[in-house]
């Protein structure tokens, strides 16, 4: 059975001081052949003359020392408190109105909320149009220095547009259903 798990946390001491995501990634498995090659290259100080040049070059590259600034980079940690999913209903001058669904407490009723465009990142502003959907998170962020701040983040969803072929397929399927329903 193909394995789609992560096989746990890294168990090497040198990953302790890295940020969570880098530590996690260091244990993600690459293919058995590469993994075996990496393990061998890390534990074996002799040069394997039998190993092809391209593989040796590759192993040398992936096992190169990581610069210190990378190893010790620790990002700010966000703790989300509440999450809503919103859909833009109407765009106004400098603001937009959205219907938001509470994803943290789904029993809460949907609400209409007005957002200032300033709350949206410059790159997401072009996505603000009726029908666009976004995540709205409220939480607490802890900086690497331990500072705590309340944050409120609006993040527009980046979903690919419909391909012409997909639209044609959908129209064809709708046509067949309509034919079936209204044939009599």
């Amino acid at each position: 059975m193909p394995d789609t798990s992560l096989s746990g946390q890294p168990l090497k001491a040198d990953t302790f001081d890295r940020s969570f995501q880098v530590a996690e990634m260091s244990n993600w498995r690459i293919s058995p052949e590469l993994s075996a090659g990496l393990k061998q290259s890390l534990s074996n100080t002799t040069v394997d003359q039998e190993r092809p040049d391209n593989e040796r070059e590759f192993l040398a590259y992936v096992t190169r020392p990581i610069p210190k600034y990378t190893r010790h980079k620790i990002a700010a940690i966000l703790r989300p408190r509440q999450l809503w999913e919103g859909t833009v209903v109407e765009c106004q001058n400098g603001s937009f109105v959205a219907r938001v669904i509470d994803r943290t407490e789904p029993s809460n009723t949907d609400e209409l909320v007005t957002f200032e465009l300033d709350e949206v990142s410059p790159e997401d502003k072009k996505l603000v149009q009726p029908g666009a959907s976004f995540y709205w998170t409220i939480g607490v962020e802890r900086s690497p220095a331990g500072q705590i701040q309340n944050i409120d983040r609006v993040m527009f969803r980046r979903l690919p547009g419909w391909r012409a072929s997909s639209v044609r397929d959908a129209e064809r399927e709708a046509g067949s259903i309509a034919e079936l329903l209204f044939s009599e």
Partner: protein, 218 residues
Amino acid sequence: MPEHTPEFSGSVIVLVGSFNPAIFQPEWFARNGLLPQGEVDSAELQVIHPHLCQFETESFTFQITTDRFTAATKPNTIAGPLQDLILGTFYVLEHTPVQAMGMNRVLHFAMESEEAWHRLGDKLAPKEPWNDILKGRPGMRNLDILTQRESPKGSSLTVKVQPSLLIQPGVYFEINDHYAASGSAGLKSMMEILRNQWETSQKKGEEIARHILEWAAA
């Protein structure tokens, strides 16, 4: 009883199949409108090689090899954008051969005391069989529990429990919600599952971890 809240949590999607790592460079994600250009410009490239592509952006980390595509959220960020990213990526690469998909949830919980931490390990893996033969204090290092589901065929759920390496005393849970693709519509079926099951799967992962923590504390 207070509700257990993870100190660190993350979501990871793993696809097993056939991939071309050289495609998956940060710029490719921006060109296809899947990541903001600013996030791509500040991406940290770790390895770009025909056999392996590894980089991280503000929101995600990626590792792609010829047989495995792995994308993860940064810690404690919301899981929805990762689902969007993978659905978008494989909408663009619609002919990618995929054999299996794992929707993973990783959680690190702080334990209230070392005693409570040992109690959890002792309840999950009783030490009676070991105490007579092993010297010292045997402890649980890793526990995997697998359950095969009848439907969809080839799907399973694995829960891994380990002492947390980030929090001491703390416990690490890794929940792997695994689906096997069948036939030629492998990618399509996996994306359908991802679209419909992602949120439920992520919530189920937390529910399992909380259940075990509450059971151990009782």
